[in-house]
Protein backbone atom coordinates (compact mmCIF):
# COMPACT_ATOMS: atom_id res chain seq x y z
CA UNK A 1 0.00 0.00 0.00
CA UNK A 2 2.86 2.36 0.78
CA UNK A 3 4.10 2.60 -2.79
CA UNK A 4 0.78 3.88 -4.06
CA UNK A 5 1.61 7.35 -2.82
CA UNK A 6 4.87 7.41 -4.77
CA UNK A 7 3.29 6.90 -8.19
CA UNK A 8 3.90 9.61 -10.69
CA UNK A 9 1.31 10.97 -13.08
CA UNK A 10 2.08 8.69 -16.02
CA UNK A 11 1.74 5.40 -14.17
CA UNK A 12 -1.45 6.69 -12.58
CA UNK A 13 -2.89 7.41 -16.01
CA UNK A 14 -1.78 4.02 -17.35
CA UNK A 15 -3.18 2.37 -14.25
CA UNK A 16 -6.59 3.98 -14.68
CA UNK A 17 -6.64 3.24 -18.39
CA UNK A 18 -5.46 -0.34 -17.91
CA UNK A 19 -8.12 -1.00 -15.26
CA UNK A 20 -10.78 0.29 -17.65
CA UNK A 21 -9.55 -1.97 -20.44
CA UNK A 22 -9.44 -5.00 -18.14
CA UNK A 23 -12.95 -4.21 -16.91
CA UNK A 24 -14.20 -3.97 -20.48
CA UNK A 25 -12.63 -7.27 -21.53
CA UNK A 26 -14.17 -8.85 -18.43
CA UNK A 27 -17.60 -7.51 -19.38
CA UNK A 28 -17.23 -8.79 -22.94
CA UNK A 29 -16.30 -12.22 -21.63
CA UNK A 30 -19.26 -12.24 -19.26
CA UNK A 31 -21.63 -11.21 -22.04
CA UNK A 32 -20.29 -14.08 -24.12
CA UNK A 33 -20.90 -16.49 -21.24
CA UNK A 34 -24.44 -15.13 -20.93
CA UNK A 35 -24.87 -15.72 -24.66
CA UNK A 36 -23.80 -19.36 -24.28
CA UNK A 37 -26.12 -19.88 -21.30
CA UNK A 38 -28.91 -18.28 -23.29
CA UNK A 39 -28.38 -20.71 -26.18
CA UNK A 40 -28.12 -23.60 -23.75
CA UNK A 41 -31.49 -22.81 -22.15
CA UNK A 42 -33.23 -21.87 -25.40
CA UNK A 43 -34.72 -25.24 -26.28
CA UNK A 44 -35.05 -26.81 -22.85
CA UNK A 45 -38.53 -27.37 -21.44
CA UNK A 46 -40.67 -25.83 -20.07
CA UNK A 47 -41.13 -23.56 -23.07
CA UNK A 48 -41.31 -19.85 -22.48
CA UNK A 49 -43.66 -19.13 -25.39
CA UNK A 50 -46.13 -17.10 -23.32
CA UNK A 51 -43.31 -15.07 -21.91
CA UNK A 52 -41.83 -14.54 -25.37
CA UNK A 53 -45.14 -13.31 -26.76
CA UNK A 54 -45.48 -10.89 -23.87
CA UNK A 55 -42.01 -9.53 -24.52
CA UNK A 56 -42.68 -9.25 -28.26
CA UNK A 57 -45.64 -7.08 -27.41
CA UNK A 58 -43.50 -5.04 -25.06
CA UNK A 59 -40.72 -4.56 -27.62
CA UNK A 60 -42.77 -4.42 -30.80
CA UNK A 61 -46.10 -2.74 -30.18
CA UNK A 62 -44.74 -0.22 -27.73
CA UNK A 63 -41.77 0.79 -29.89
CA UNK A 64 -43.77 0.98 -33.08
CA UNK A 65 -45.08 4.57 -32.87
CA UNK A 66 -41.71 6.09 -32.14
CA UNK A 67 -39.94 3.96 -34.78
CA UNK A 68 -42.52 4.91 -37.41
CA UNK A 69 -42.33 8.63 -36.65
CA UNK A 70 -38.54 8.51 -36.79
CA UNK A 71 -38.54 6.59 -40.06
CA UNK A 72 -41.08 8.92 -41.68
CA UNK A 73 -39.10 12.01 -40.86
CA UNK A 74 -35.83 10.34 -41.86
CA UNK A 75 -37.31 9.58 -45.29
CA UNK A 76 -38.63 13.12 -45.54
CA UNK A 77 -35.43 14.87 -44.61
CA UNK A 78 -33.45 12.52 -46.83
CA UNK A 79 -35.60 13.50 -49.81
CA UNK A 80 -35.24 17.15 -48.94
CA UNK A 81 -31.45 17.01 -48.58
CA UNK A 82 -30.73 14.89 -51.61
CA UNK A 83 -33.11 16.97 -53.69
CA UNK A 84 -31.26 20.20 -52.89
CA UNK A 85 -27.91 18.46 -53.43
CA UNK A 86 -28.80 16.69 -56.65
CA UNK A 87 -30.31 19.87 -58.07
CA UNK A 88 -26.77 21.23 -58.40
CA UNK A 89 -26.04 18.69 -61.11
CA UNK A 90 -29.55 18.12 -62.47
CA UNK A 91 -29.93 14.64 -61.01
CA UNK A 92 -33.13 15.12 -59.03
CA UNK A 93 -34.74 12.17 -60.79
CA UNK A 94 -32.47 9.90 -58.74
CA UNK A 95 -33.78 11.13 -55.39
CA UNK A 96 -36.24 8.20 -55.30
CA UNK A 97 -33.43 5.67 -55.71
CA UNK A 98 -31.25 7.33 -53.10
CA UNK A 99 -34.05 7.45 -50.55
CA UNK A 100 -35.08 3.83 -51.15
CA UNK A 101 -31.54 2.45 -51.00
CA UNK A 102 -30.46 4.48 -48.00
CA UNK A 103 -33.56 3.68 -46.01
CA UNK A 104 -33.64 -0.07 -46.66
CA UNK A 105 -29.92 -0.73 -46.47
CA UNK A 106 -28.88 1.58 -43.70
CA UNK A 107 -31.12 4.14 -42.10
CA UNK A 108 -34.17 1.99 -41.43
CA UNK A 109 -32.31 -0.69 -39.44
CA UNK A 110 -29.87 1.70 -37.76
CA UNK A 111 -32.44 4.23 -36.61
CA UNK A 112 -34.81 1.51 -35.46
CA UNK A 113 -31.87 -0.10 -33.64
CA UNK A 114 -30.91 3.14 -31.92
CA UNK A 115 -34.48 3.91 -30.91
CA UNK A 116 -34.98 0.42 -29.56
CA UNK A 117 -31.64 0.69 -27.72
CA UNK A 118 -32.99 3.71 -25.93
CA UNK A 119 -36.50 2.51 -25.32
CA UNK A 120 -36.22 -1.22 -24.84
CA UNK A 121 -32.61 -1.33 -23.64
CA UNK A 122 -33.40 1.11 -20.86
CA UNK A 123 -36.56 -0.67 -19.83
CA UNK A 124 -34.92 -4.10 -19.79
CA UNK A 125 -31.94 -2.92 -17.76
CA UNK A 126 -34.13 -0.97 -15.33
CA UNK A 127 -36.53 -3.86 -14.83
CA UNK A 128 -33.89 -6.57 -14.39
CA UNK A 129 -31.69 -4.21 -12.37
CA UNK A 130 -34.54 -3.51 -9.96
CA UNK A 131 -35.26 -7.22 -9.73
CA UNK A 132 -31.58 -7.81 -8.96
CA UNK A 133 -31.24 -5.22 -6.19
CA UNK A 134 -34.54 -6.24 -4.54
CA UNK A 135 -33.47 -9.92 -4.56
CA UNK A 136 -36.28 -10.90 -6.93
CA UNK A 137 -33.74 -12.67 -9.15
CA UNK A 138 -32.51 -14.66 -6.15
CA UNK A 139 -36.14 -15.42 -5.37
CA UNK A 140 -36.60 -16.81 -8.88
CA UNK A 141 -33.69 -19.13 -8.30
CA UNK A 142 -35.12 -20.43 -5.03
CA UNK A 143 -38.43 -21.06 -6.83
CA UNK A 144 -36.71 -23.60 -9.10
CA UNK A 145 -36.48 -21.17 -12.03
CA UNK A 146 -33.33 -20.29 -13.91
CA UNK A 147 -33.21 -16.50 -14.32
CA UNK A 148 -31.40 -16.73 -17.67
CA UNK A 149 -34.10 -19.00 -19.02
CA UNK A 150 -36.98 -17.07 -17.51
CA UNK A 151 -35.78 -13.50 -18.03
CA UNK A 152 -33.05 -13.37 -20.66
CA UNK A 153 -34.15 -15.95 -23.23
CA UNK A 154 -37.64 -14.46 -23.82
CA UNK A 155 -36.28 -10.94 -24.14
CA UNK A 156 -33.50 -11.91 -26.51
CA UNK A 157 -35.75 -14.07 -28.67
CA UNK A 158 -38.54 -11.47 -28.76
CA UNK A 159 -36.23 -8.62 -29.58
CA UNK A 160 -34.43 -10.60 -32.33
CA UNK A 161 -37.73 -11.53 -33.97
CA UNK A 162 -39.47 -8.20 -33.59
CA UNK A 163 -36.83 -5.77 -34.80
CA UNK A 164 -36.94 -7.01 -38.44
CA UNK A 165 -40.72 -6.52 -38.38
CA UNK A 166 -40.28 -3.00 -37.09
CA UNK A 167 -37.72 -2.36 -39.82
CA UNK A 168 -40.04 -3.58 -42.61
CA UNK A 169 -42.54 -0.99 -41.46
CA UNK A 170 -39.85 1.64 -41.02
CA UNK A 171 -38.67 0.98 -44.62
CA UNK A 172 -42.19 1.39 -45.88
CA UNK A 173 -43.06 4.62 -44.11
CA UNK A 174 -39.58 6.03 -44.75
CA UNK A 175 -39.95 5.54 -48.49
CA UNK A 176 -43.47 6.94 -48.35
CA UNK A 177 -42.24 9.95 -46.41
CA UNK A 178 -39.64 10.61 -49.09
CA UNK A 179 -42.27 10.20 -51.76
CA UNK A 180 -44.62 12.73 -50.18
CA UNK A 181 -41.95 15.36 -49.73
CA UNK A 182 -40.59 14.91 -53.26
CA UNK A 183 -43.93 14.74 -55.04
CA UNK A 184 -46.08 17.13 -53.06
CA UNK A 185 -43.60 19.64 -51.72
CA UNK A 186 -40.79 19.61 -54.26
CA UNK A 187 -42.87 18.89 -57.35
CA UNK A 188 -41.25 15.67 -58.55
CA UNK A 189 -43.11 13.63 -61.16
CA UNK A 190 -44.87 10.85 -59.20
CA UNK A 191 -44.44 8.26 -61.97
CA UNK A 192 -40.75 8.92 -62.48
CA UNK A 193 -40.20 9.00 -58.72
CA UNK A 194 -41.96 5.67 -58.18
CA UNK A 195 -40.13 4.07 -61.07
CA UNK A 196 -36.74 5.29 -59.84
CA UNK A 197 -37.56 4.10 -56.33
CA UNK A 198 -37.90 0.51 -57.50
CA UNK A 199 -35.54 0.53 -60.48
CA UNK A 200 -32.33 0.01 -58.52
CA UNK A 201 -33.81 -1.60 -55.41
CA UNK A 202 -32.90 -5.29 -55.14
CA UNK A 203 -34.41 -7.76 -52.73
CA UNK A 204 -30.97 -8.21 -51.11
CA UNK A 205 -31.02 -4.54 -50.11
CA UNK A 206 -34.11 -5.21 -48.06
CA UNK A 207 -33.00 -8.59 -46.72
CA UNK A 208 -29.61 -7.28 -45.66
CA UNK A 209 -31.39 -4.57 -43.68
CA UNK A 210 -33.57 -7.15 -42.00
CA UNK A 211 -30.59 -9.32 -41.10
CA UNK A 212 -28.94 -6.27 -39.56
CA UNK A 213 -32.12 -5.55 -37.64
CA UNK A 214 -32.24 -9.08 -36.21
CA UNK A 215 -28.60 -8.80 -35.09
CA UNK A 216 -29.27 -5.39 -33.52
CA UNK A 217 -32.29 -6.74 -31.66
CA UNK A 218 -30.24 -9.66 -30.38
CA UNK A 219 -27.34 -7.46 -29.23
CA UNK A 220 -29.55 -4.85 -27.58
CA UNK A 221 -31.48 -7.40 -25.53
CA UNK A 222 -28.39 -9.38 -24.55
CA UNK A 223 -26.36 -6.33 -23.51
CA UNK A 224 -29.25 -4.77 -21.61
CA UNK A 225 -30.06 -8.00 -19.77
CA UNK A 226 -26.42 -8.32 -18.79
CA UNK A 227 -26.31 -4.78 -17.45
CA UNK A 228 -29.49 -5.37 -15.48
CA UNK A 229 -28.05 -8.58 -14.00
CA UNK A 230 -24.89 -6.90 -12.75
CA UNK A 231 -26.71 -3.94 -11.15
CA UNK A 232 -26.03 -3.51 -7.47
CA UNK A 233 -26.45 -0.89 -4.80
CA UNK A 234 -30.06 0.23 -4.85
CA UNK A 235 -31.69 2.90 -6.98
CA UNK A 236 -28.41 4.52 -7.95
CA UNK A 237 -27.04 1.21 -9.19
CA UNK A 238 -30.13 0.62 -11.29
CA UNK A 239 -29.72 4.10 -12.78
CA UNK A 240 -26.10 3.36 -13.65
CA UNK A 241 -27.02 0.00 -15.16
CA UNK A 242 -29.67 1.63 -17.32
CA UNK A 243 -27.31 4.28 -18.62
CA UNK A 244 -24.66 1.69 -19.36
CA UNK A 245 -27.17 -0.51 -21.15
CA UNK A 246 -28.32 2.30 -23.44
CA UNK A 247 -24.81 3.55 -24.20
CA UNK A 248 -23.38 0.07 -24.77
CA UNK A 249 -26.23 -1.17 -26.93
CA UNK A 250 -26.23 2.00 -29.06
CA UNK A 251 -22.51 1.58 -29.62
CA UNK A 252 -22.99 -2.11 -30.38
CA UNK A 253 -25.58 -1.16 -33.01
CA UNK A 254 -23.27 1.29 -34.78
CA UNK A 255 -20.12 -0.83 -34.55
CA UNK A 256 -21.77 -4.07 -35.63
CA UNK A 257 -23.49 -2.14 -38.42
CA UNK A 258 -20.13 -1.21 -39.93
CA UNK A 259 -18.81 -4.75 -39.83
CA UNK A 260 -22.00 -6.29 -41.16
CA UNK A 261 -22.09 -3.75 -43.99
CA UNK A 262 -18.50 -4.49 -44.92
CA UNK A 263 -19.26 -8.22 -44.96
CA UNK A 264 -22.50 -7.93 -46.88
CA UNK A 265 -21.62 -5.65 -49.79
Amino acid sequence: MADIGKRNGLTAVLDTFGTKVFRMVEHLGNIFILLLQCLGWLFRPPSEIRNIVKQMEEVGINSMPVVLVTATFTGMVLALQSWSGFQRFQATSFVGSVVALSITRELGPVFAGLIVSGRVGASIAAELGTMKVTEQIDALVTLATNPVKYLVVPRVVASTLVLPVLVIMADLVGILGGYFVSVYLLGANPYVYTEKTFQYLESWDIYSGLIKAAVFGFLIALISCYNGFIAEGGAEGVGRATTRAVVASSMAVLVSDYFMTSLMF
Binding site: M131, T134, D138, T142
Partner: protein
Protein backbone atom coordinates in the same frame (compact mmCIF):
# COMPACT_ATOMS: atom_id res chain seq x y z
CA UNK B 1 -30.61 -32.56 8.22
CA UNK B 2 -28.17 -29.92 7.05
CA UNK B 3 -24.50 -30.22 7.81
CA UNK B 4 -22.10 -27.41 7.03
CA UNK B 5 -18.44 -28.30 7.24
CA UNK B 6 -15.51 -25.91 6.91
CA UNK B 7 -17.41 -23.53 4.65
CA UNK B 8 -15.25 -20.72 3.27
CA UNK B 9 -16.28 -17.85 1.06
CA UNK B 10 -14.38 -14.72 0.14
CA UNK B 11 -15.00 -11.85 -2.23
CA UNK B 12 -11.68 -10.77 -3.70
CA UNK B 13 -9.36 -10.39 -0.72
CA UNK B 14 -12.20 -9.94 1.76
CA UNK B 15 -12.77 -13.20 3.63
CA UNK B 16 -16.41 -13.38 4.73
CA UNK B 17 -16.82 -16.98 5.84
CA UNK B 18 -13.68 -18.54 7.25
CA UNK B 19 -14.55 -22.15 7.99
CA UNK B 20 -18.14 -22.32 9.21
CA UNK B 21 -19.19 -25.58 10.90
CA UNK B 22 -22.86 -25.97 11.76
CA UNK B 23 -25.30 -28.83 12.06
CA UNK B 24 -29.00 -28.12 11.65
CA UNK B 25 -31.14 -30.96 13.00
CA UNK B 26 -34.23 -32.09 11.10
CA UNK B 27 -37.48 -30.44 12.10
CA UNK B 28 -35.78 -27.83 14.27
CA UNK B 29 -35.29 -24.12 13.85
CA UNK B 30 -31.70 -22.97 14.06
CA UNK B 31 -31.19 -19.23 14.30
CA UNK B 32 -27.89 -17.74 13.21
CA UNK B 33 -27.21 -14.42 14.93
CA UNK B 34 -24.45 -11.95 14.24
CA UNK B 35 -23.84 -8.26 13.57
CA UNK B 36 -24.53 -6.53 10.29
CA UNK B 37 -21.99 -7.39 7.62
CA UNK B 38 -20.72 -10.53 9.38
CA UNK B 39 -21.78 -12.74 6.49
CA UNK B 40 -25.09 -14.17 7.71
CA UNK B 41 -26.73 -13.57 4.35
CA UNK B 42 -23.71 -14.98 2.55
CA UNK B 43 -23.99 -18.13 4.66
CA UNK B 44 -27.64 -18.64 3.84
CA UNK B 45 -27.00 -17.95 0.14
CA UNK B 46 -24.21 -20.53 0.11
CA UNK B 47 -26.59 -23.10 1.60
CA UNK B 48 -29.19 -22.64 -1.12
CA UNK B 49 -26.52 -22.41 -3.84
CA UNK B 50 -27.11 -18.76 -4.76
CA UNK B 51 -23.45 -18.19 -4.01
CA UNK B 52 -20.68 -20.68 -4.66
CA UNK B 53 -18.54 -21.44 -1.64
CA UNK B 54 -14.77 -21.45 -2.15
CA UNK B 55 -14.18 -24.39 0.13
CA UNK B 56 -16.05 -26.74 2.42
CA UNK B 57 -19.24 -28.74 2.21
CA UNK B 58 -22.93 -28.12 2.63
CA UNK B 59 -24.62 -31.49 3.01
CA UNK B 60 -28.38 -31.60 2.56
CA UNK B 61 -29.51 -35.12 3.51
CA UNK B 62 -25.99 -36.26 2.66
CA UNK B 63 -25.78 -34.53 -0.73
CA UNK B 64 -23.16 -31.83 -1.13
CA UNK B 65 -24.71 -28.67 -2.61
CA UNK B 66 -21.35 -27.02 -3.23
CA UNK B 67 -20.26 -29.71 -5.71
CA UNK B 68 -23.46 -29.74 -7.77
CA UNK B 69 -23.76 -28.44 -11.31
CA UNK B 70 -26.56 -26.05 -12.23
CA UNK B 71 -28.99 -28.78 -13.22
CA UNK B 72 -28.58 -30.78 -10.02
CA UNK B 73 -28.91 -27.56 -8.07
CA UNK B 74 -32.28 -26.80 -9.66
CA UNK B 75 -33.46 -30.19 -8.44
CA UNK B 76 -31.90 -29.79 -4.98
CA UNK B 77 -33.43 -26.33 -4.58
CA UNK B 78 -36.91 -27.80 -4.72
CA UNK B 79 -36.32 -28.85 -1.13
CA UNK B 80 -35.87 -25.21 -0.17
CA UNK B 81 -38.18 -22.32 0.43
CA UNK B 82 -36.72 -18.95 1.22
CA UNK B 83 -38.17 -15.82 2.74
CA UNK B 84 -36.15 -12.79 1.67
CA UNK B 85 -35.46 -9.75 3.79
CA UNK B 86 -37.54 -7.42 1.63
CA UNK B 87 -39.92 -10.28 0.72
CA UNK B 88 -38.69 -10.00 -2.93
CA UNK B 89 -42.18 -10.38 -4.36
CA UNK B 90 -42.30 -10.16 -8.15
CA UNK B 91 -43.76 -6.71 -8.57
CA UNK B 92 -45.03 -7.33 -12.08
CA UNK B 93 -47.40 -10.02 -10.77
CA UNK B 94 -50.30 -9.93 -8.33
CA UNK B 95 -50.28 -11.77 -5.02
CA UNK B 96 -51.98 -14.86 -6.42
CA UNK B 97 -49.50 -15.17 -9.28
CA UNK B 98 -46.61 -14.68 -6.87
CA UNK B 99 -47.71 -17.47 -4.56
CA UNK B 100 -48.58 -19.71 -7.51
CA UNK B 101 -45.25 -19.11 -9.25
CA UNK B 102 -43.46 -22.32 -8.28
CA UNK B 103 -46.69 -24.33 -8.50
CA UNK B 104 -47.11 -23.27 -12.12
CA UNK B 105 -43.43 -23.61 -13.05
CA UNK B 106 -43.28 -27.12 -11.66
CA UNK B 107 -46.83 -28.05 -12.77
CA UNK B 108 -47.59 -29.35 -9.29
CA UNK B 109 -51.35 -28.89 -9.65
CA UNK B 110 -53.72 -28.72 -12.62
CA UNK B 111 -54.45 -25.11 -13.51
CA UNK B 112 -58.05 -25.12 -12.20
CA UNK B 113 -56.84 -26.11 -8.73
CA UNK B 114 -54.04 -23.56 -8.46
CA UNK B 115 -56.28 -20.78 -7.19
CA UNK B 116 -57.63 -22.86 -4.33
CA UNK B 117 -54.19 -24.12 -3.38
CA UNK B 118 -52.93 -20.54 -3.31
CA UNK B 119 -55.85 -19.48 -1.12
CA UNK B 120 -54.99 -22.34 1.24
CA UNK B 121 -51.33 -21.28 1.45
CA UNK B 122 -52.34 -17.68 2.06
CA UNK B 123 -54.69 -18.85 4.82
CA UNK B 124 -51.72 -20.57 6.48
CA UNK B 125 -50.06 -17.17 6.87
CA UNK B 126 -53.30 -15.56 8.00
CA UNK B 127 -54.31 -13.79 4.79
CA UNK B 128 -57.41 -14.13 2.66
CA UNK B 129 -59.01 -12.58 -0.39
CA UNK B 130 -55.94 -10.66 -1.46
CA UNK B 131 -54.93 -12.67 -4.53
CA UNK B 132 -55.86 -9.83 -6.88
CA UNK B 133 -53.73 -7.19 -5.09
CA UNK B 134 -50.36 -6.08 -6.44
CA UNK B 135 -47.30 -6.19 -4.13
CA UNK B 136 -47.10 -2.38 -4.18
CA UNK B 137 -50.51 -2.22 -2.48
CA UNK B 138 -49.38 -4.31 0.53
CA UNK B 139 -47.88 -3.20 3.84
CA UNK B 140 -44.43 -4.46 4.89
CA UNK B 141 -45.86 -7.14 7.17
CA UNK B 142 -48.28 -8.36 4.53
CA UNK B 143 -45.48 -8.55 1.95
CA UNK B 144 -43.48 -10.74 4.30
CA UNK B 145 -46.46 -12.99 4.84
CA UNK B 146 -47.12 -13.28 1.12
CA UNK B 147 -43.39 -14.00 0.66
CA UNK B 148 -43.74 -16.72 3.25
CA UNK B 149 -46.80 -18.17 1.54
CA UNK B 150 -44.82 -18.21 -1.72
CA UNK B 151 -41.88 -19.91 0.02
CA UNK B 152 -44.07 -22.70 1.45
CA UNK B 153 -46.25 -23.10 -1.65
CA UNK B 154 -44.23 -25.93 -3.19
CA UNK B 155 -44.04 -27.70 0.18
CA UNK B 156 -40.33 -27.45 0.87
CA UNK B 157 -38.54 -29.54 3.48
CA UNK B 158 -36.25 -26.71 4.46
CA UNK B 159 -37.19 -23.07 5.07
CA UNK B 160 -34.63 -20.28 5.11
CA UNK B 161 -35.55 -16.98 6.69
CA UNK B 162 -33.41 -13.94 5.91
CA UNK B 163 -34.09 -11.48 8.74
CA UNK B 164 -37.79 -12.32 9.01
CA UNK B 165 -38.64 -9.54 11.48
CA UNK B 166 -36.34 -6.74 10.32
CA UNK B 167 -38.17 -3.55 9.42
CA UNK B 168 -41.48 -4.56 11.02
CA UNK B 169 -43.23 -2.99 13.98
CA UNK B 170 -43.02 -5.08 17.20
CA UNK B 171 -46.53 -6.47 16.85
CA UNK B 172 -46.11 -7.50 13.23
CA UNK B 173 -42.68 -8.92 14.12
CA UNK B 174 -44.36 -11.11 16.71
CA UNK B 175 -47.01 -12.20 14.21
CA UNK B 176 -44.18 -13.38 11.96
CA UNK B 177 -42.50 -15.12 14.91
CA UNK B 178 -45.72 -16.99 15.65
CA UNK B 179 -45.99 -17.94 11.99
CA UNK B 180 -42.45 -19.28 11.92
CA UNK B 181 -43.20 -21.42 14.96
CA UNK B 182 -46.57 -22.64 13.69
CA UNK B 183 -45.13 -23.53 10.27
CA UNK B 184 -42.43 -25.56 11.91
CA UNK B 185 -45.01 -27.37 13.98
CA UNK B 186 -47.61 -27.89 11.26
CA UNK B 187 -45.27 -28.67 8.36
CA UNK B 188 -42.40 -30.17 10.33
CA UNK B 189 -39.88 -28.25 8.21
CA UNK B 190 -36.24 -27.82 9.08
CA UNK B 191 -35.45 -24.13 9.18
CA UNK B 192 -32.55 -21.75 9.37
CA UNK B 193 -33.18 -18.13 10.26
CA UNK B 194 -30.69 -15.33 10.31
CA UNK B 195 -31.41 -12.32 12.42
CA UNK B 196 -29.97 -9.72 14.76
CA UNK B 197 -33.29 -9.30 16.54
CA UNK B 198 -32.63 -11.15 19.82
CA UNK B 199 -36.27 -11.09 20.96
CA UNK B 200 -37.20 -12.94 17.80
CA UNK B 201 -34.24 -15.30 18.07
CA UNK B 202 -35.13 -16.35 21.63
CA UNK B 203 -38.73 -16.88 20.65
CA UNK B 204 -38.39 -18.94 17.48
CA UNK B 205 -35.12 -20.81 18.02
CA UNK B 206 -34.51 -24.38 19.04
CA UNK B 207 -30.82 -23.64 18.70
CA UNK B 208 -28.95 -20.39 18.35
CA UNK B 209 -25.55 -20.11 16.65
CA UNK B 210 -23.46 -16.97 16.71
CA UNK B 211 -21.49 -16.04 13.61
CA UNK B 212 -18.50 -13.85 14.31
CA UNK B 213 -15.46 -13.13 12.13
CA UNK B 214 -16.48 -15.76 9.59
CA UNK B 215 -16.86 -18.57 12.11
CA UNK B 216 -19.53 -20.02 14.39
CA UNK B 217 -18.24 -19.10 17.83
CA UNK B 218 -20.98 -20.70 19.90
CA UNK B 219 -24.01 -22.93 19.43
CA UNK B 220 -26.58 -23.62 22.08
CA UNK B 221 -30.18 -23.58 23.14
CA UNK B 222 -31.68 -20.12 23.73
CA UNK B 223 -31.20 -20.65 27.46
CA UNK B 224 -27.51 -21.55 27.06
CA UNK B 225 -26.91 -18.56 24.82
CA UNK B 226 -28.63 -16.24 27.30
CA UNK B 227 -26.27 -17.41 30.04
CA UNK B 228 -23.14 -17.66 27.90
CA UNK B 229 -19.66 -17.01 29.29
CA UNK B 230 -18.24 -16.13 25.86
CA UNK B 231 -17.60 -12.36 26.02
CA UNK B 232 -18.30 -11.85 22.29
CA UNK B 233 -21.64 -13.67 22.43
CA UNK B 234 -22.70 -12.05 25.67
CA UNK B 235 -21.95 -8.57 24.32
CA UNK B 236 -24.07 -9.27 21.27
CA UNK B 237 -27.07 -10.86 22.93
CA UNK B 238 -27.18 -8.21 25.64
CA UNK B 239 -26.67 -5.47 23.08
CA UNK B 240 -23.90 -3.63 24.95
CA UNK B 241 -22.01 -0.85 23.18
CA UNK B 242 -18.74 -1.77 24.89
CA UNK B 243 -17.00 -5.10 24.59
CA UNK B 244 -14.72 -7.16 22.38
CA UNK B 245 -16.84 -6.73 19.21
CA UNK B 246 -16.84 -2.94 19.33
CA UNK B 247 -13.12 -2.76 20.05
CA UNK B 248 -12.37 -4.87 16.99
CA UNK B 249 -14.86 -2.88 14.99
CA UNK B 250 -13.21 0.41 15.89
CA UNK B 251 -9.81 -0.99 14.92
CA UNK B 252 -11.35 -2.00 11.63
CA UNK B 253 -12.84 1.46 11.07
CA UNK B 254 -9.44 3.03 11.76
CA UNK B 255 -7.80 0.60 9.35
CA UNK B 256 -10.30 1.38 6.59
CA UNK B 257 -9.89 5.06 7.25
CA UNK B 258 -6.10 4.84 6.90
CA UNK B 259 -6.12 2.73 3.76
CA UNK B 260 -8.81 5.04 2.37
CA UNK B 261 -6.48 8.01 2.75
CA UNK B 262 -3.55 6.38 0.97
CA UNK B 263 -5.90 5.14 -1.70
CA UNK B 264 -7.02 8.67 -2.38
CA UNK B 265 -3.45 9.88 -2.77
CA UNK B 266 -2.83 7.14 -5.31
CA UNK B 267 -5.86 8.20 -7.29
CA UNK B 268 -4.73 11.75 -7.76
Amino acid sequence: MIEIRGLKKSFGVKVVLDGVDLTVPRGKNTVVIGGSGTGKSVLIKCIVGLLRANEGEVLIDGEDVTKMDERELVRARRKFGMLFQGAALFDSMNVGENVAFALRRLHLYPEHQVRDVVEEKLAMVGLRDIQHLMPAELSGGMKKRVGLARAIAAEPEILLYDEPTTGLDPIMADVINELVISLRESLGVTSISITHDMASAYKIADHIAMLYKGMIVEVGTPEEIRNTRNPVVSQFVEGRAEGPITAEHEDFIRFVHRSGETGMQGGR
